[in-house]
């Protein structure tokens, strides 16, 4: 049980680190969104499910209730984070942030 929780937590932090490196190093706004949206969703799901699993190590009514709330957080993040990324992308497209191209001005 403890090993599974540790593995899930460490993999969550790993994907958080990948996402952070992605938004720091990628060259253009849309590729940064690609790193931020996917890595954030996966990492938060992994880390929060580890916390829900660890909370169940003593089974009582209170801990089951708390774990149910943690799963509500997982469900909400799983729905809300891609939606927020989609909204940011649509705002950027409508405002006219230019994508990064090999030759300048190929696609206008």
């Amino acid at each position: 049980m403890n090993w599974v929780v540790s593995l899930l937590l460490v993999s969550g932090v790993f994907f958080f680190a990948i996402g952070t490196i992605g938004i720091l190093r990628l060259p253009d706004f849309y590729s940064r969104l690609h790193a931020a949206g996917k890595c954030d969703t996966l990492a938060a799901t992994l880390a929060v499910s580890a916390i829900a699993l660890y909370n169940l190590h003593d089974l009582s009514f209170g801990s089951i209730l708390v774990s149910w709330k943690v799963f509500a957080i997982i469900f909400f993040i799983f729905m809300a984070s891609p939606t927020a990324t989609h909204a940011i992308t649509k705002a950027a497209l409508l405002v006219g942030v230019e994508p990064w191209l090999k030759k300048k001005g190929v696609r206008k």
Binding site: V13, F16, A87, I88, A92
Partner: protein, 103 residues
């Protein structure tokens, strides 16, 4: 043993939050800053749950984390809608336009 794992993960998350703050401070457009704030908010949700585990006050911190996740989503959507209407996302352009009009 598990509390040490939780402490190490919490410290790593705090360091990653500071790294994300670099993008928030130096992003070329306003939307870059919004992406950085959204990532910081997701990390803070996980961080609040871990603090609840470390201090063994899970029923209190779970509600704070849930409220923080909701607030983060609503703030991102609201900021997106605002900048979609105002049609200007480059701070440098705005500064240049202000200089031209004043000069």
């Amino acid at each position: 043993m598990m509390s040490q794992v939780f402490l190490a993960v919490t410290l790593a998350l705090v360091m990653l939050i500071f790294l994300s703050l670099v993008r928030v401070l130096g992003g070329p457009t306003v939307l870059d800053r919004i992406v950085g704030v959204n990532m910081i908010g997701t990390k803070t949700t996980v961080l609040l749950l871990l603090i609840g585990l470390i201090y063994e006050a899970m029923p209190m911190f779970i509600d704070i984390a849930l409220a923080y996740a909701l607030l983060n989503f609503i703030a991102t959507i609201g900021a997106c809608k605002f900048f979609r209407r105002s049609k200007r996302v480059h701070l440098e352009d705005e500064l240049a336009i202000e200089k031209e009009t004043s000069a």
